[in-house]
């Protein structure tokens, strides 16, 4: 797909995420999709494969939040296989803390599927508000 088709797909995906709807995002993850969270936090690291991304990253995040996450994109920059998305979160944790991070996502696509994303965000805020992902699922059991 062209850069403009990739951009259009990411715009559609983020139209969903602005309404707490991650269906299209999930649908467009390739099976060997890789999510890299940059930095040195407890949430940092490489999550390899769609199943691991959902189990080890997205499920603990969901467990921390009152509702499904809401992420509002404000800029899309696309070239070749890459689409960069700047976005803002609009969330509240179960502990009652606002979690409104600022994100820069670098997506790599191939054949209409997302192969990889590198997430840059305010990691100090992650540490302060989200704590340890290992505790997140335990807290909701």
């Amino acid at each position: 797909m062209s850069a403009s088709e990739n951009k259009k797909l990411m715009e559609e995906i983020f139209a969903g995420l602005a309404n707490r709807n991650g269906t299209l995002l999930t649908e467009r993850m390739s099976e060997d999709f890789r999510w890299i969270n940059i930095g040195t936090t407890k949430w940092s690291g490489t999550f390899d494969g769609k199943a691991a991304v959902q189990r080890d990253l997205l499920a603990p995040l969901r467990a921390r939040l009152v509702e499904r996450s809401r992420t509002v994109a404000h800029r899309f920059i696309a070239e070749g296989d890459y689409v960069v998305v700047e976005a803002r979160g609009d969330n509240v944790t179960r502990a009652g803390m606002p979690y409104n991070n600022e994100y820069c996502f670098v997506f790599r696509l191939s054949g209409g599927k997302i192969q990889e994303v590198r997430e840059y965000s305010d990691t100090a805020l992650i540490d302060a508000v989200l704590g340890d992902p290992k505790d997140a699922l335990a807290a909701t059991r």
């Binding site: 850069a3 930095g39 940092s44 696309a78 070239e79 960069v84 840059y120 965000s121 305010d122």
Partner: protein, 142 residues
């Protein structure tokens, strides 16, 4: 300038940054450039104007390092007026702490000059390795 020309300029600027040479970067900043350190951490704010970007933000940052900073870019993504650069720092602070941050820098260019910079990086590392941004360097509200 086209996206390709903008990208070429940013590649040249980062060829300098990889060798601790910021001269082309400084030369390419528009007088009214803004640099937004995104997020809600101790360094988050928008520095307005070349004098503030170089004097306040860069001035303090460079003063913490043993040598002028080294930043090595590994990806450039250009679209219209925007160029996104992913990069890694390779630095040592004067207190002997490694400061090797991971950056995603979003640049907006106009007529061959940088007019806007939005910086994303590991802010937890910023606070740990570099401390708070000092009140004395915070620019007065305009």
């Amino acid at each position: 300038m086209s996206a390709t020309e903008n990208k070429k300029l940013m590649e040249k600027i980062y060829a300098g940054s990889a060798n601790r040479d910021g001269s082309l970067f400084i030369q390419s900043l528009a007088d009214d450039v803004t640099w937004c350190v995104t997020g809600q951490n101790k360094w988050s704010r928008t520095f307005k104007g070349k004098a503030s970007v170089l004097g306040d933000l860069q001035g303090h940052f460079q003063s913490l390092l043993v040598q002028r900073s080294r930043t090595v870019a590994h990806r450039f993504i250009a679209d219209g007026d925007w160029v996104v650069v992913e990069a890694r720092g390779d630095n040592m602070t004067k207190t002997g702490v490694r400061y090797d941050n991971e950056y995603c820098m979003v640049f907006r260019l106009m007529d061959g000059m940088i007019v806007e910079i939005r910086e994303y990086c590991d802010s937890a590392l910023v606070e740990r390795a570099l401390g708070d941004f000092p009140a004395s360097r915070i620019p007065a509200a305009v």
